[in-house]
């Protein structure tokens, strides 16, 4: 066995050839493999592969019918990008075995019901689409699909249901029409017209307060950021005008028409949408991300227009491919680049647009951000002659439009771009962006460059950054991340605490214990409290100790963490009060203000070791001392990380509580009679549950308080700004205001699930009608997301 780590033939876990595992013993595995692989690159044509597979499956039906049904239902749900391949397969099977076709349809309807009940709404859309395409394969009769659609559209007439519920049912209908619109109109045009009119009515009356919150750019030029249902409606209208002629979708069933039209069709059983329940979580509305149009792809095939149905289908399929293969970047990139029909479209542009669309999606991207960076790198590797140029063009376009880009999206742009550059020796034509040097450095463009350079430095080192940018960019280069020691100047002995810092420093170097340090610190005067008991908040003590300690430990993160751990007791004592915690944070900032990354990791460590708490961090960020840092990216990273820690903490205790409750349940079930030992165990468990219940309540209270503090502070700052501008008669839309209001939005968006729990309190205490309408609007937009 080789003792070396990965041999270097390939850069990652994925071998070039899939390692042939030993021949699958189970026929079921083989069936699964055959079905899943059909449509992949092959020496034979797709038609002959489908024909062959249908024959194999037909032969296996007597023994493996249920397994085959399950596999086919699963691929319908999980491989939507290969929809028409599998509907053709089902069509062929139905033609050979009518009963099987019927059983499949029934199984699909059952699966549809289950996915809807389990809140798997995106997958349910794929199932609906699959059923619709089965009309094209002569498996299902068109009128019964129209009836299904009629039931779906009836949902828009329901009273007292969330709009997002009705949205989904309308979306399910509209998004299936590219596949089946033609057939349905040929058979039932009157009914379809009626349906579309009802949908039109619904779309006109539904409210769209949420759109503003979800748009990546606030400007409508060059591409409006349309609400997803509006865009889809426009696309379907255009498709209808074109008499449902749709030429992009790959339709293998066309080749089999002579066989399929001989088949008998089934009717869908009547399907009533499950009623609304409080546990239903419908998908949030979306905005369609567009950054390219036909003018952007200089040569080659033309990009389909924004309201063409081709655009919808291409984007859907590309999203589905990413959804299926995001874990394996090489496969994902290969699948994207081998999109069927790619010769007729500027595929690279579509891919880049879809990827950035996901990366910038609000509230959050479907997958972890770093996946997109790595996927784009893989794509560049596979298409080195064309993709990097499209990517550079996209970057340039996004830079040009920074003025109207949502702050959250700018954050992600910064993260992506700096990480991407770090994989390509930071090569970039910075000179092209020299225009950003001519404006106020707080404006979006220079701010962006500044934040990018800061992130680039974190992945390299200060001198590297100095070397990679032209000299006229020096104002944007981050500070050299060095420690600022208050007591550094040996000649300046008159600074309060200077002598004490020497004693403390020596004590630390001589390996003093926590107690010994506290003794040394006893002599530090306390100007806050003349009646010095030694226990109350003493800012000078904190200053002297922490400055000295962090100075001695400044060499690396590990050194600093070690120091915090070693003197945990001292720190906990010093930071015992709220003011103590705030002061600790102030000192950390003072010494490390040139090294934001260090501030982040220290704050993280101090929360985890309970030297400070989450509320203290929030108060610190909104404090007067930090106003000049308020628009810096790192500050918000710290705040969001803090909120996440709070959320995880609550979830952890909740889980402990639930586990204990389950354990008690199980014990009750197993119990015979009053066995004394069991009673003892039970009461212990019950005590534990009570304790955990208290812990949960206390944690939730802390969490609620955290959000209240944050929102309160935002409201204060924004109200002040609005008032000031009104008095002075100036425009309130300054870069600072845009940043602040979008950061408030960001809190709502990034933590919406948690905040939902506290809506009542928020509305009663903070977001009342008396609030300035600019601020209240944010709250209302948030509410409309799940309305």
């Amino acid at each position: 066995m080789s003792r070396r780590r990965h041999a270097d033939e390939n850069d990652g876990g994925q071998p070039h050839k899939r390692r042939r595992t030993s021949e699958p013993v189970e026929i079921e595995d083989r069936l699964e493999s055959l079905i899943c692989r059909v449509g992949e690159k092959s020496t034979s044509s797709l038609e002959s592969n489908l024909e062959g597979l249908a024959g194999v499956l037909e032969a296996d039906l007597p023994n493996y019918k249920n397994k085959i049904l399950r596999i086919l239902c699963a691929v319908a749900r999980l491989l939507p990008e290969k929809l028409t391949i599998y509907t053709t397969l089902v069509g062929l099977l139905n033609a050979r075995n009518y009963n099987f076709g019927g059983e499949f349809v029934e199984a699909m309807i059952r699966q549809l019901k289950e996915t809807l009940k389990s809140n798997l709404f995106n997958e349910a859309v794929y199932l609906v689409r699959f059923l619709c395409d089965l009309v094209n394969c002569h498996v299902i009769a068109a009128p019964s699909v129209v009836a299904l659609f009629e039931n779906f559209v009836c949902v828009t007439q329901e009273d007292d249901v969330p709009q997002v519920r009705c949205d989904w049912y309308v979306y399910a209908v509209l998004s299936s029409l590219p596949w089946v619109g033609k057939e349905l109109y040929e058979k039932k045009d009157v009914e379809m017209d009626r349906l579309l009119n009802q949908i039109d009515g619904y779309l006109k009356r539904r409210q769209k307060t949420h759109v503003v919150m979800l748009q990546v750019w606030t400007a409508d030029k060059p591409h409006p950021q349309e609400e997803y249902l509006d865009c889809l409606w426009a696309q379907i209208q255009k498709l209808k005008k074109d008499r449902w002629q749709e030429r992009h979708i790959l339709r293998p069933y066309v080749a089999f028409d002579s066989v399929l039209c001989e088949a008998l069709q089934h009717n869908l059983p009547p399907f009533t949408p499950p009623p609304h329940s409080d546990s239903a979580i419908y998908p949030m509305p979306r905005v369609i991300f567009r950054m390219f149009d036909y003018t952007d792809a200089p040569e080659g095939p033309v990009m389909p227009g924004s309201h063409s149905v081709e655009r919808f289908v291409i984007e859907e399929n590309l999203h589905c491919i990413i959804k299926s293969h995001w874990r394996e970047r090489k496969t994902c990139a290969a699948q994207l680049l081998s999109y069927p029909g790619k010769s007729k479209i500027p595929l690279n542009y579509h891919i880049v647009e879809v990827i950035f669309g996901e990366l910038f999606q609000l509230p959050s991207p479907p997958h972890v951000e770093v996946m997109y960076t790595t996927l784009l790198i893989e794509l560049c590797k596979l298409q080195p002659g064309s993709l990097p140029q499209v990517l550079a063009q996209a970057t340039e376009m996004m830079y040009m439009r920074l003025d109207t880009m949502n702050t959250t999206c700018v954050d992600r742009f910064v993260n992506w771009f700096s990480h991407h550059l770090s994989n390509f020796q930071f090569r970039w034509s910075w000179d092209d962006w020299a225009d950003c040097l001519t404006v106020d450095l707080e404006k979006p463009k220079p701010k962006f460059v500044k934040e990018v350079l800061e992130k680039c430095m974190r992945l390299s080192y200060h001198q590297r950054i100095v070397d990679i940018v032209p000299s006229n960019f020096s104002a944007l280069i981050p500070a050299d991340p060095i420690f600022t020691y208050k007591y550094a100047d040996e000649s300046n002995t008159s600074i309060p605490g200077y002598t004490m810092s020497l004693s403390v420093g020596n004590a630390i170097k001589n390996r003093a214990s926590n107690e010994e340090i506290l003794t040394v610190l006893k002599d530090v005067p306390n100007h806050e409290d003349d009646d010095d008991e030694g226990e109350s908040f003493n800012p000078l003590k904190i200053e002297v100790f922490l400055q000295t300690l962090l100075h001695l430990a400044a060499k690396s993160f590990s050194h600093s963490f070690s120091a915090l751990a070693k003197f945990h007791e001292v720190l906990k004592t010093l930071s015992d009060s709220d003011e103590g915690k705030l002061h600790v944070l102030r000192v950390v900032y003072d010494v490390w203000k040139n090294h934001p990354q260090m501030i982040s990791v220290l704050v993280d460590k101090m929360i985890r070791t309970q030297i400070v708490d989450c509320v203290a961090v929030a108060n610190w960020i909104f404090s007067q001392d930090m106003t000049h840092e308020f628009t810096r990216f790192y500050v918000w990273e710290i705040l969001h990380s803090t909120i996440r820690k709070m959320n995880k903490h609550v979830q952890k205790i909740q889980k402990e509580l639930e586990d204990s409750k389950e354990k008690l349940e199980k014990q009750h079930q197993k119990k015979d009679s009053g066995d004394e030992d069991e009673m003892e165990e039970d009461s212990q468990l019950e005590e534990q549950i009570e304790r955990l219940q208290e812990k949960v309540e206390s944690a939730q209270s802390e969490q609620k308080n955290l959000f209240l503090v944050i929102f309160q502070r935002f409201i204060m700052m924004l109200t002040e700004h609005v008032a000031r501008c009104e008095t002075a008669g100036t425009d309130l839309n300054t870069p600072w205001y845009k940043n602040c209001i979008e950061r408030l939005q960001q809190i709502f968006l990034m933590h919406h699930a948690t905040i939902q729990q506290y809506m009542g309190t928020l509305e009663n205490l903070l977001f009342t009608a008396e609030l300035d309408h600019h601020i209240l609007a944010i709250y209302q937009q948030f509410c409309s997301l799940q309305a």
Binding site: H6, E32, A74, E114, E328, M371, I377, S641
Partner: protein, 164 residues
């Protein structure tokens, strides 16, 4: 309902590799069990000059990092080109295996692999000269990893002397 299609969703970047730590205290089965549950990654092919800060920044992209232990030359006690990254959750470590493994840090393609868990002593290189074993035998010149491999260095020195 939740039929998982094995043929479909392979997750090969997350699979454990062939490497087994020869110094592991326990049998192969135990080691493999730990590897499959681990939230600790071994990171290799680092430059000797890559800092803990850089590792933090990169690996934080897949989740909160609990701890980083920089690998040291056993004799010189200086960085010798590897480290361990511990996450709080396995899921975050898996994302690192999927998306950070095989990408660049400090201009070098780095490799990540599952580790059974840090133990005192494992932060030291196991090569005879104090660094990593790979740096004993490699023959290429790598300025970020001390130049030539140790054996090659010795040979070159001997050759040099023989020239006279």
């Amino acid at each position: 309902m939740s039929v998982q299609l094995n043929a479909l969703f392979s997750d090969s970047y997350v699979e454990i590799s062939q490497y087994r730590d020869q110094h592991f205290k326990g049998n192969r089965y135990e080691q493999e069990k730990l590897l499959k549950q681990s939230s600790t990654l071994y990171v290799g092919n680092l430059s000797f000059y890559t800092t803990e800060e850089q590792v933090y920044e990169l690996f934080s992209k897949s989740g909160d990092v609990k701890r980083i232990i920089i690998g040291l030359d056993k004799i010189k006690k200086t960085a010798c080109g590897f480290c361990f990254v511990e996450y709080y959750t396995r899921a975050d470590a898996e994302n690192a295996m999927r998306f950070i493994n095989g990408t660049r840090l400090d201009d070098r393609i780095i490799r990540t692999d599952w580790d059974a868990g840090f133990r005192e002593g494992r932060q030291y290189g196991r090569g005879k000269s104090g660094g990593q074993v790979r740096d004993e035998y490699r023959q290429d010149y790598d300025p970020a990893r001390g130049g030539y491999g140790k054996l090659t260095q010795l040979q070159r020195n001997t050759d040099g002397r023989n020239k006279f």
